[in-house]
Amino acid sequence: MIRLALRMLLGDTSKLFGIVMGVTLASLVITQQGSIFVGIMSRTYAVVSDMGAPDIWVMDPKVQYIDDVKPLQDTELFRVRGVEGVAWAAPLYKGLTRARLEDGTFQNCVILGLEDSTLTGGPPRMLEGKVSDLRRADAVIVDQIGATTRFARRDADGRSTPLRVGDEMELNDRRAVVVGISGNTRSFQSQPLIYTTYSRATAFVPKERKLLSFVLVTAGEGVDPASLCRRISMETGLAAYTREEFKGKTVRYFLENTGIPINFGIAVGLGFFVGTVITGFMFFNFTMDNLRYFGTLKAMGAPGGRLLSMVVVQAVWVALVGYGMGVGLAALMGQLSKGSPLAFHMPWQLLVVSGLATLIISLTAAVVSMHKVLSLEPAAVFKG
């Protein structure tokens, strides 16, 4: 009977096309918009994910997300080092500054100051130069996206030349020399990133009383990061988060304080709604066309449950195929957008969500049809 249900569905190519299109459209819009949303959201914590090393981020308890820096006393570093279970702890400076380029233009950028001795928290990849080159005088490393966009030199004829190793710039009236180009994750604000040492970074920015932004902690062997976090905050009064917690906190801040989720929510909701309406309508139409045959089966003694399972099988088939095509198309679009500034990230969780949405759409469509099939009088089969 299940095979017959599928044959009934597959036999009517034009109807089938319409039904599957509805589901495909919905799953495409949901997956694609969802991927862009996830992509954008994962850019908000690009600095955290690019900094592979530390297990734990320690900061002022009022900090809400990675860009919300509330400076600490330098002495906090030593207090953190004193907590049991901390293998080592390094300071990180994170701030904003203005770079004056060789052609005289100014450009805002993010500056990251790494512990002078260990250079903990350096870039994830070096495209040119080495991280240790930061030990040279006035040395900075610039991220590749910054080097090729905001930091690029525009010639009179409109051609742009990227910033290169050996180029110079001024940060807060002090000379800086580019010694390397790093490969970083594109960030949400898309400001250029400059890596330098902690002591130099603090010289590159206007003098302030407190300069320490974060303490990066690595847990000792066999120490559970989550319980170490609790111990650090208990003993120092500072906030301590594992890397994943800090990413989550950052994303949550953007979710709660920007219009981004609403905008994407609307797009995804619209995809869901339109998909449900189209699919529901088409599927209902299909069932209505087949009502005479469902009635015939009913008269011939097929129990209601059997007929329902036929409708469900048809709906699930439609869901699977539509889902596959929608997700396939979304993945294709993501693949094609690779290398472009478009944010696109398709984690398995999103695939589960859009899969469930697709199934809900198809089953909703089927429910209306099921009702028709179940309420069918078997005697109606004799009517012309």
């Binding site: 017959l4 044959r7 011939m300 003694g301 005697a379």
Partner: protein
């Protein structure tokens, strides 16, 4: 006991059926008394709207009667309940419709397998039995084709194969020949009568087609929700007919 064997296939007394309520109520059956004997081909005739379809719907167990008594193959659908009646139909009743009602996207063999599948027969076995049955109705060479590739008469023969494939004991046919021309209708009727006689099953055939009366063992005339006359048919004229059954 012989009494059991002599029990009629269908026995109705004072069957009443009303559609709708109040002013809109239509009293389609107003007290039908009818017996259909085992192995008999009974034709039900009468003007349009007199309740023929309603009556065979009640007899076949697809429509509940409002009143009166009715026993089909020794069972009362009221006692069986809806699920029991559905199972009863699946096992014991075959249907032939005016518009054939073959599922257009299934091959004719798959169409004919349906009653077996409903009865839980495995697919391969159902398919084999369907092909054998199609052979019997003269369509053994076309089992893989879709219904719309066949002529009307051939489609109705497929429908007959479908109605018989699971070995039912009662066949109800609602105007099986009215969508067909006379010659084709006659052939279809001949097939129906012949197969039925071989299997010893009882047939109730609704028709206004006087040209097929010759196949009837008996003819029941209906008017305004009642059986108004019963007469002997002319099936004895037919060479194909088996020895007369059902006559008391």
């Amino acid at each position: 006991m012989a009494v059991v064997a002599d029990k009629p296939a269908v026995w109705c007394k004072g069957v009443v059926k009303t559609y709708g309520k109040g002013d809109a109520a239509v009293r389609a059956l107003r007290g039908v008394d009818l017996e259909v004997h085992r192995g008999e081909l009974l034709m039900l005739v009468g003007p349009s709207g007199c309740g023929k379809t309603t009556l065979i719907s009640v007899i076949a167990g697809v429509l509940d009667r409002d009143g009166g008594e009715c026993s089909v193959l020794g069972e009362d659908f009221r006692a069986l309940g809806p699920a029991g009646t559905t199972r009863f139909r699946a096992k014991n009743v075959g249907f032939v419709f005016q518009a054939f009602n073959l599922i257009p996207t299934l091959t004719i063999a798959d169409n004919v397998s349906v009653p077996l599948l409903i009865n839980g027969v495995r697919r391969q076995e159902a398919h084999r039995a369907a092909c054998e049955m199609l052979e019997k109705v003269g369509l053994g060479a076309r089992t893989g084709e879709l219904p719309n590739r066949l002529s009307g008469g051939q489609q109705q023969r497929v429908a007959i194969a479908r109605a018989l494939v699971h070995g039912p004991r009662l066949l109800v046919c609602d105007e099986p020949t009215s969508a067909l021309d006379h010659a084709t209708g006659g052939k279809v009727m001949e097939l129906l009568a012949g197969v039925a006689k071989q299997g010893g099953l009882s047939l109730v055939v609704v028709t206004h087609d006087a040209r097929i009366f010759e196949f009837a063992d008996r003819i029941a005339e209906m008017d305004d929700g009642r059986i108004v006359r019963l007469s002997a048919g002319q099936s004895h004229k037919h060479a194909a007919a088996a020895p007369q059954q059902g006559a008391k």
